[in-house]
Subunit: 261 residues, 3 copies
């Protein structure tokens, strides 16, 4: 059953006829496919943002679901298109690394899409999501063996999110992602922090954050707080407010945790 | 059949991996669940807006559909999560009153979610939509008897939209909702107005509205008009224009109807 | 199977309870209907934009799918609502021409919706999408013969996108559509251009574009390029940038192709 579910993640925007065309192509090949939108507002060509988005979403899906990802700054170049199986998840993606942080230790199976018989003809120079990824997803959802798509490959682009670095009693990280609420999700893992018993201070850009809570609402409305997010990442938030605006922070703003001895 | 339909209404934004994670959790438990987006642009933590949204949408659905609502300023506090049956509709909601105007006279059945066996473990402190509401919805869609979710309760938060008040020949109300077109939907019911035969004037903030029509297009393009909306509420609109911008009005702007004797 | 798929295209916005109400009405009549969002961000009442959107999306769908289009500046006037079969596609649309460029030579079958037994009662004056188009779509998805909806008609509104005109060695066209990336899609067909061997220059408003590529990524990052889009239209883009902002262009900005002798 999950084999017939196809999810879509793109940078096309909600207003785009391109997403609609992809849906049409899929249903033309498999009218029973169950199409699910994951998100169409990845910032244009931002593979790093796509990587964070996929890492935050794909692990929650059951195996068998087919995830189509169209964030593709290299369309029209020689970059490959890939079929990937990683930790039971199946993705169809441009070879730009946006999926590589899903690996987490296990070996993925990666095929290069090379069989035009499963593509829409003629293949345009600018819209491989519609002409290659969508029809391949539809064929897979009908039960096509992935083996048929092309040769297995052992090289692919890797995109790692920046890792924090420790220096004395400090951890230097940065903002990875600003969510819709203005919460700042950093690249510092909750498990890297000292235990709650040990005090620490946080600097986000030039601003100090000293209040540590388990959830936003523990603090009073409007307070700036630090907490460990539902994805085990250090997060800086304003209870019922917008931390990005308040602290003038955005993606890549430095975040320093100073742990007292 | 409608038992397998799960709708989602959140304040997470269209760009959010959080909505995607909720979809993944639901499909992990019930791969046959049919997920339907209602809206993800409730303004952050705005339970009043959520209440208007739900009152405008839920009554049109058939009974049996499961509606998950994640607008949850109290996540992490002692507020409960509820299963509600109201007028045949089934909702999973934080106990913040966003559903209570759906009651309209009938007694709802309300259970407090208290059985962690139907939750995702571990439950995070900040994302009960993913960890509690989504898995409970999925289990219900598989046929779980709601009885199993927790004890019935008789107290819950109530959130009433502001009621208009009558004073002499005036009705004092306010703007409840500004739609995507800039139409101002007020809290004054069409049935509270004098009949069309009797003239009345309307003030929206400092602006006067004197033209009353049955539909936008009865007036000429650009005219400011008052009409009774498809939900029986007094609405102020500009034919093919934006009334909120034109009249500098927004949610809570006072609206006064002056009925001539 | 495609008969139970109903797509929705509206100008209601993503934040709208109106779209949710339409979904509820459809499922109330056919709980098995498979609802697919195509787009809800058609600019308000912009039938020309809707026409371009539909022409870019509908042809990719399999026959049998039912497409509901609610972009309806004339709601409440005497404009008709139509059932249309065109090139195998089935649409339910206000009679405002938004679908007419789908015809491309073949004769469409057009019925005027005239049988209130398939409508939601009472029909509001301002929301025919919910009260007429949605329930009619649901009945069709259950297998209702379109014949039953009303009389066949031979007159309907036509909306043609502006055609380019040739003058000496120039083609004068305009920007039809600006996509989410800021790419400028013009009304000049790729097949009207001289072959790649013959040089030409392009003016977009006051700006010159001289670099012609097959796909965005052939040029260096930030370069302004012209290419033939995946829909065979001349397109002006900035590789990994925003051409609309860079060239200060928008819908209706003149575009001139000067073909050298």
């Amino acid at each position: 059953m999950p084999d017939s579910i196809i999810t879509l993640t793109t940078d096309f925007g909600e207003d785009s006829p391109y997403v609609a065309a992809i849906k049409g192509v899929i249903l033309s090949i498999n009218p029973s496919a169950r199409i699910l939108d994951l998100g169409h507002q990845i910032p244009p060509q931002d593979t790093r943002h796509a990587a964070f988005f996929l890492a935050s979403a794909i692990p929650y899906f059951p195996p068998g679901v087919i995830h189509v990802v169209v964030v593709d700054p290299g369309v029209g170049t020689e970059r490959s298109l890939l079929y990937v199986e990683v930790n039971g998840h199946r993705l169809l993606v441009p070879d730009n690394g946006c999926w590589s942080i899903l690996v987490r230790g296990n070996s993925p199976r990666v095929l290069k899409l090379a069989e035009p018989r499963y593509w829409r003809q003629p293949v345009s120079a600018t819209f491989h999501g519609r002409d290659i990824l969508a029809p391949v997803a539809a064929h897979l959802s009908l039960g096509l063996d992935a083996q048929a798509l092309g040769p297995e490959v052992s090289q692919w682009a890797r995109l790692e999110l920046p890792a924090p670095r420790r220096e004395g009693n400090c951890i230097h990280g940065e903002v990875l992602f600003v969510d819709h609420f203005g919460n700042l999700i950093t690249n510092i893992r909750g498990s890297d922090l000292s235990t709650a018993a040990q005090p620490f201070r946080i600097k986000v850009g030039e601003a100090d954050v000293s209040l540590r809570v388990r959830s936003y609402a523990e603090a009073e409305r409007g307070a700036v707080v630090a907490l460990v997010s539902s994805a085990d990442l250090l997060e800086v938030a304003v209870n019922q407010g917008n931390a990005a605006q308040r602290l003038k922070a955005t993606v890549r703003t430095p975040v320093v945790v100073i742990q007292d001895a």
